[in-house]
């Protein structure tokens, strides 16, 4: 039996923008689904022109629509079409596409699709087996369903910021990673719905809340309140049981190594590598509970050793000894990590406007999943294929739609 990409034959209409939606549909595309991203010149995905965290600079902040590389990183392997949803003929065109699709995925404000006449109830009349996922800040129901939000706000409301930070410092949000992890969970829900449809013939609406998505990833923290009536605080890099378990400063500017010691054997190996074999027999550090009790002392000893040494050298040396150790990597480190390169974790795509670019590829290696990375679509790049070939619209009709500004 031969394998191919497992979602081949599944067609997804993608009305998403920014991060939380686009990454979800890209995951589906990386599994073989045909994803058609629907934008218009007037309402394009704002990430096409934005860079992450614009810095104060005299350089213009906006870039040409196809060249935002954070857009490029989460829209690979999609087709791009332009339809003006504000025109009735635009909605009609979408409905024709819905008729030949399996999934609609959107992350506009709750109600926005309905206002364009493209709500679930409307679309299921066109395609009774449709699966539609709406991803919103706080869900489509409840008193706060209309609240706007971005990743950092969801992180805070969902309960994860409160536990992130130094014990003596303020809470910290993370970044757009919250959107991407929510996108992953939403992609899972869509595939689950495809299974349900395959078994029963029934489509469904999926209401996805990004704040709930955050809460679902701290289940044990919430149970602490249930069990003990208390709210866990912030612990930086510390673990409940292990020590040393921290990130230590190395030689250079902003160079750090993460070290996690689980067993007595690992601690003995660390002591040996540090040239302090006697520490393994020291009563303060003799077992996990003692090490955890004397964590501050142990951190001081390890820091004194790492501070004068090279980060990567330390990490390699400790890994050889069977100890979990890794540099705290920045973008350049990731880009030049030989291990990631050897695994093909960063894929090359040839972008028609900017040339070869490298992005993180699929977050898995799956045998038989024959999806080659393709650059994110240029605005309207696949209008011809989608409207002419897929929908069978004649050249004259398409010309008319373009003239009338329905297809832009």
């Amino acid at each position: 039996m031969t394998n191919a990409a497992p979602l081949r034959g599944v067609r997804v209409l993608d009305f998403t923008w920014v991060w939380a939606g686009p990454y979800a549909t890209m995951l589906l595309a990386l599994l073989g689904a045909e994803v058609i991203k629907i934008e218009s010149r007037g309402r394009m995905d704002i990430m096409r022109r934005m860079i992450v965290w614009p810095l104060f600079s005299p350089v213009p902040q906006e870039i040409p629509p196809n060249q935002g590389m954070s857009f490029g990183a989460i829209n690979m392997n999609k087709l791009g079409v332009t339809i003006n949803l504000e025109q009735p003929l635009g909605s009609d065109l979408v409905k024709r596409l819905v008729g030949v699709s399996d999934v609609v995925f959107e992350n506009m404000r709750p109600g926005a699709m309905e206002r364009s006449g493209l709500g679930y109830e409307e679309l299921r009349r066109v395609n009774p087996k449709l699966i539609m996922l709406s991803s919103s800040a706080r869900g489509a129901t409840g008193p706060e369903s209309h609240y706007a939000g971005y990743a950092t706000v969801h992180h805070a409301v969902g309960g994860a910021s409160y536990i992130t930070g130094y014990p003596d410092g303020p809470p910290s949000t993370t970044f757009g990673d919250v959107d991407l992890v929510n996108a992953t969970a939403a992609a899972f829900a869509v595939i689950a719905a495809l299974h349900h449809r395959a078994a029963t013939g029934e489509g469904q609406f999926i209401d996805y809340s990004q704040c709930e998505g955050v809460s679902s990833l701290i289940g044990e923290v919430l149970l602490d309140y249930e069990m003990n009536g208390r709210s866990p605080g912030r612990h930086a890099n510390a673990d409940e049981l292990m020590a040393p378990h921290n990130v230590y400063q190395c030689w250079g500017v902003d160079r750090w190594v993460a070290i996690a010691v689980e067993t007595d054997e690992e601690f003995a190996a660390l002591a040996r590598v540090m040239g302090r074999p006697e520490l393994a027999a020291d009563t303060r550090f003799v077992d996990a509970a003692s090490r955890k009790r004397n964590e501050a002392e142990i951190d001081e000893i390890v820091s004194a050793w790492t501070r004068a040494r090279d980060r990567d050298f330390i990490a390699n040396m400790l890994v050889q000894e069977g100890i979990a150790a890794a540099p705290s990597r920045d973008a350049d480190d990731l880009f030049h990590d030989p291990h990631l390169s050897a695994r093909g974790a960063l894929v090359e795509v040839d972008h028609p406007e900017v040339g070869v670019r490298r992005f993180a590829g699929a977050p898995w290696i799956m045998s038989g999943c024959d999806v080659e990375a393709v650059h994110a679509p240029l605005l309207g790049e696949h209008n011809d294929y989608v409207f002419r070939q897929l929908l069978g619209i004649s050249e004259e009709e398409l010309d008319g739609l373009q003239r009338d500004g329905v297809v832009q």
Binding site: L180, A185, L217, Y225, W256, A258, A260, D330, P363, W364
Partner: protein, 414 residues
Amino acid sequence: MERALAARGAFDGVKIVEYATMVSGPYCGKLLADMGADVIKVEEPPSGDPARQRGPFPGDEPHPERSGLFLYLNTSKRGITLNLDRPDGLEAFRRLVAWADVLIDNHPPEGLESLGLGWDELRRQNPSLILASLTPYGRTGPRARAKGGELTSFHAGGLGNLLPTRSEDMSRPPIKAGGYPTGYSTGLTAAVAIAGALYGRRASGGGGRLIDVSEQEAILALVRTNVASTIYHRTAWSRVPERPPALGRLECKDGYVVALLIEDRHWRAFVDLMGNPEWASGPEWGTLFYRAGHLMEIADHIAEWAAQQSKEDVHHRGAAKGFAIGSVYSAEEVMNYRQHLARDYFVEVDHPEAGKARYAGWPYKMRASPPAVQRPAPLLGQHNREVLEDVLGFSADEFADLCRKGAAWKAGGQ
């Protein structure tokens, strides 16, 4: 409106063996089990999954059947204990894998190999098996066998280096986000791949697959936009305190809020919320570009204003004005959050040893195939007899024999 249909799990009928500990593999198994998959968790005696040794525990008293971490991550599964160091225990495991559609394994790649169950052998025994292998660095490449875990993978993947945000002291280390973000993200990633692979099999047949998921890459996947922007647009990658024009965290008198003001109209709404103070009301503040350069000049004024506000007041009044803002909620506040409650987000689970508690639910509301806790997390070896006899077809005598010899093991005997 909806036609009535008996609730059905999306993965009903899917057979999964979970040979996994701690967070990544078990969370992956939970996601599938809560949607109906028959997940059998294999633990090794005497103590089983080390997550059982981790808190929270009721009253802070460690007890292997009352770990909040274990209880949450293992809902809806059946649990058995097998001693894989014994040939008869291993044989039972082989039979289980031959039964399964999916094997979730988060041991180092050499773990199954050392049991004589490397991928080549597994697929020989069960050609349609999907093996999901979750490891710190993946099964290939120079670091394939390097030890790693929650902390090191988080930093190796690039997210740690960005935290905490707005750090004021560069001599303090970058940090891991709270909890087990690496484990959860890796489990979620693997669940997508498994669900996809299963769908491919359902739709068009096809053989087994090996799914290789690396914790480092599961984290890298989440910072992919930051990586691309940093490399190609030379934007900042750092935890520096000043990051205009995003407003980020504000300290109120009773806690913190987080706001993000990108669009000009949202900035104006925020200034309005502050009562239109003179120092923020000039027309020049109306553009993102100006704010990018000057926001830090009025940061102290904003902080002074915020310090006199209560966070919930700012949160809800700000949200009513249409901009993105929310309170930093503690566990207690999340458990009492009106929006979660209104949406029936929490699920009450009654566990025979740990009692009743409300657990976090699922962020996806699915009308036709709602997720549900099918049963509480298994006690150690709780389903030994049921699984070995009913699933694998051992006779009652054979089962008794396995227990006597210690191949299937349970605290207090079986």
